[in-house]
């Protein structure tokens, strides 16, 4: 249990504080990230907000050379690509995040199953610095 409320925007407030939050269903025990007011597994509304350990492993990834507008604004392009992937948290649920400290010149060598730990990356969006979810090798 933590002090965050069970609404979507709290996920980003927690991220600014370096915390990764989600929810746990008190009826079936399943975790969700981002947090859900209705358990997607058993439809219970008996839910609490939890802070995850931030440990996980890589289950899928890509190295992007053609970025969308906001990533281009942050300085990424074909000469400066970035890795984004799906991370399975130690507690079970999965989330999309930027993956840092990978060998971007050899994307085929990035290993599914790599142990990761949560961090954040500051990116500028419309002139404002914001914390985004990222993971790096543990």
């Amino acid at each position: 249990m933590n002090d965050y409320a069970l609404v979507n925007k709290e996920f980003f407030r927690a991220l600014e504080a370096g915390e990764l939050i989600g929810s746990k269903c008190l009826d079936c025990g399943e975790f969700s990230i981002p947090q859900r007011e209705i358990c997607p597994f058993c439809h219970s509304t008996n839910i609490e907000v939890v802070t995850f350990s931030g440990k996980g492993k890589l289950v899928a990834y890509t190295v992007i050379s053609v970025p969308p507008v906001k990533m281009a604004q942050a300085g990424y392009d074909s000469k400066n690509p970035y890795c984004v992937g799906i991370v399975e948290l130690a507690e079970g649920p999965r989330i999309s995040a930027q993956i840092l400290e990978m060998d971007l010149a050899h994307p085929e060598a990035i290993a599914i199953g790599t142990e990761l730990v949560m961090t954040t990356i500051q990116r500028e969006e419309d002139g404002v610095q914001k914390a985004y979810l990222a993971f790096k090798p543990a």
């Binding site: 981002p34 899928a60 890509t62 053609v66 970025p67 507008v69 799906i86 999309s96």
Partner: protein
């Protein structure tokens, strides 16, 4: 045994499309009229537009691409169909296939006898980064897009999961692109009416023309394997793994089964239909398949009373090459983990055991997203009626399937069509 719960059957009595491509001098209305004229030209009995009772439009985002929302009544008016009911259906890149299904359900319910279905997207007026941004709104814009994902990125991530799970050869993706371009080269409506070999030879010739050293690619596969010819977009998806950004419109005329012969000597019948949804990519138990596609396919097979081996040809949603391989497994043409081998062995070519995307698919024909699902029906209608010209399948195909995916698999709709003699 067929297990249809529909109150009555539905037939497709005509189909047509604009050319797909990049048309800076045309608006979406021009393309839509072009598709309607093509449908009229293709009909073997003249269509009286006054008989059309309702219009369903598959369109993903004219609001973003053209700054024009509420497009269905405008297009209905442009065809002279006002004041009939005009509805826009949006399920991202599956909008067209869903519009077909919604129109069919409206006929099956008894509400309408004659319904026009259109699919439309005008995408090329925006810059490529803006197109990427607009397409991104079909994903979860709170939790997936801020992570840095793009649409090629989603399918690329699924591709890494697929390669990892099955130890697949990445060249299988290139074989899908080569095969679909070979089919597209025989389709005069296709954005790329060209094989990859022809594109490669053009690039070589241009290099020589500009006084640069001639690239040394000997085969289409060598060309695709060279980042200088085929740059990375979202590894392992390269430029030639991606369907293009396109403008285009497609159309089909659906009527109740009992009226079919009044409208055409050679109707085809919609005998199976299914649709399913899903959450965002991280919520799924598997990343090497699209569960909504498997579910939609099962519903459609069950309604039709058919199995995957009964399907003579399929138009599947190859927005990215890996998507065609996953589709060939989700639809049961090949066992899990075998789709990549089937692609490399030519089993999905026009002369293979499960021909896929004889039109060139989204890859070569083009992917004006809201039009794609209806464009698939145009190809099935042509193939089942022996009207597909040089790319016509031999042996008079009887059963055709369309598989249309929205987003990274949040929506999938499958429709099965039958020719009756």
């Amino acid at each position: 045994m067929s297990k249809s719960k529909w109150s009555r059957g539905v037939a497709v009595v005509g189909a047509g499309m604009s050319r797909f491509g990049a048309f800076p001098d045309k608006t979406s209305r021009d393309l839509f009229v072009e598709a309607f004229k093509d449908l009229n030209k293709n009909m073997d009995k003249a269509l009286d537009p006054k008989k059309i009772e309702a219009f369903y439009l598959g369109n993903f985002s004219s609001d973003q691409f053209e700054k024009q929302a509420h497009l269905a009544p405008i297009l209905a008016s442009w065809l002279g169909l006002s004041p009939i009911s005009a509805v826009r259906v949006e399920d991202a890149c599956a909008s067209g296939g869903v519009a077909i299904r919604q129109a069919a359900l409206a006929i099956a319910s008894g509400e309408y006898d004659v319904v026009l279905v259109g699919g439309l997207e005008k995408m090329t007026d925006l810059r490529i980064s803006e197109v990427t941004e607009a397409l991104g709104t079909a994903a979860d814009t709170q939790f997936e897009i801020p992570a840095g994902f793009t649409f090629p990125g989603f399918y690329a991530a699924m591709a890494t999961a697929y390669l990892h799970e099955y130890g697949a050869d990445r060249n299988a993706f290139f074989d899908v692109a080569i095969k679909n371009h070979k089919n597209g080269a025989l389709n005069d409506k296709a954005q790329f009416e060209q094989t990859i070999e022809q594109i490669m030879e053009d690039k070589k010739a241009r290099a020589v023309q500009k006084g640069r050293p001639e690239p040394t690619w000997k085969t289409d596969l060598e060309f695709l394997q060279d980042p200088k010819g085929n740059p990375n977009v979202a590894w392992p998806m390269t430029l030639f793994d991606c369907s293009p950004v396109s403008d285009g419109a497609a159309m089909a005329l659906l009527v109740s089964e009992d009226l079919a012969k009044q409208f055409s000597h050679h109707p085809i019948y919609l005998i199976g239909s299914g649709q399913a949804s899903d959450g965002a990519l991280p919520e799924r138990a598997t990343l090497s398949s699209i569960p909504a596609a498997e579910k939609a396919g099962k519903q459609a097979y069950e309604m039709a009373g058919l199995t995957p081996d009964d399907i003579d040809l399929a138009e599947v949603h190859d927005c990215f090459t890996v998507a065609e391989i996953m589709a060939s497994e989700d639809l049961g043409f090949f066992p899990r983990g075998e789709g990549w081998k089937a692609a490399m062995e030519g089993k999905t070519a026009r002369d293979g055991e499960h021909p896929i995307n004889t039109s060139g698919g989204l890859k070569a024909k083009g992917h004006p997203v809201g039009a794609s699902g209806v464009g698939q029906v145009v190809e099935i209608w042509k193939q089942l009626n022996g009207l597909a010209g040089e790319r016509q399948l031999p042996n008079a195909p009887k059963i055709g399937l369309t598989h249309n995916v929205g987003g990274s698999g949040q929506t999938c709709v499958v429709n099965i069509f039958e020719r009756r003699d």
